[in-house]
């Protein structure tokens, strides 16, 4: 099902269009005011366990055009892809991160166990994030462990 909004063409997947299909006034084409990404917000059932939600967002012309620029630049596949990324970024940002403060020896043992459990090269920031450690302390611990020969820099750079 497709919807035409000014110069914006919204391609909706079948599961996103249930509300329009079920509407008494359902039509193949719907005119949406300029700047509206989707006409309504509602919960749509995908499967019995998994549910998807839609939120209508009204944007200014400038905002809309900037999103289109980024899509043309290849940073996002679509406006929906941009919106999804933006929401996830904001949610991630708003999530408070508490880091563990643990003694130096324990930290080295923890990193050692992590690398044994997860073979292959890893960035110190990934290790810090996965173990819930402070990045500065992790970086210092990793540097010490390299000096001691407990771990090494990867032979090939991480792609």
């Amino acid at each position: 099902m497709c919807a035409l909004a000014g110069n914006m063409f919204v391609q909706a997947r079948p599961w996103t269009s249930l509300s329009l299909v079920n509407d008494a006034v359902a039509a193949r084409r719907v005119i949406i005011p300029n700047g509206t990404i989707f006409i309504r917000a509602e919960r749509v059932t995908r499967t019995e366990q998994e549910q998807a939600y839609q939120i209508a967002v009204r944007l200014t012309k400038v905002e809309y055009e900037r999103i289109q620029e980024m899509i043309r630049a290849g940073l996002f596949r679509s406006a929906a892809d941009f919106a999804r990324e933006a929401v996830r970024d904001k949610l991630r940002e708003a999530e408070p991160l508490s880091v563990r403060d643990i003694p130096r020896k324990n930290m080295e043992a923890l990193i050692d166990r992590y690398l044994a459990k997860h073979p292959g090269p890893h960035f110190a920031s990934e290790i810090a994030e996965d173990l819930g450690l402070d990045f500065r302390s992790t970086l210092a611990a990793v540097t010490r462990m390299i000096e001691k020969g407990k771990i090494r820099k990867p032979r090939r750079p991480i792609e």
Partner: protein
């Protein structure tokens, strides 16, 4: 580890980790052809070049 604190000092790395009080941006900078990237400002920040390690 070298710590640079003078104005105008630079840091270049494949993967840089930062800790900051506040962040402005990032915004897309389009230069020529395929040269494009993101730029932004970190306020009261420190940044480190990430280290890749393996066992």
């Amino acid at each position: 580890m070298t710590i640079l604190t003078d104005e105008g000092d630079g840091i270049v790395g494949r993967r840089i980790v930062y800790l900051a009080r506040k962040m402005s941006g990032p915004r897309l900078v389009a230069k020529s052809g395929r040269h494009r990237g993101l730029e932004g400002v970190l306020h009261d920040a420190e940044a480190y070049i990430d280290i890749a390690v393996e066992k």
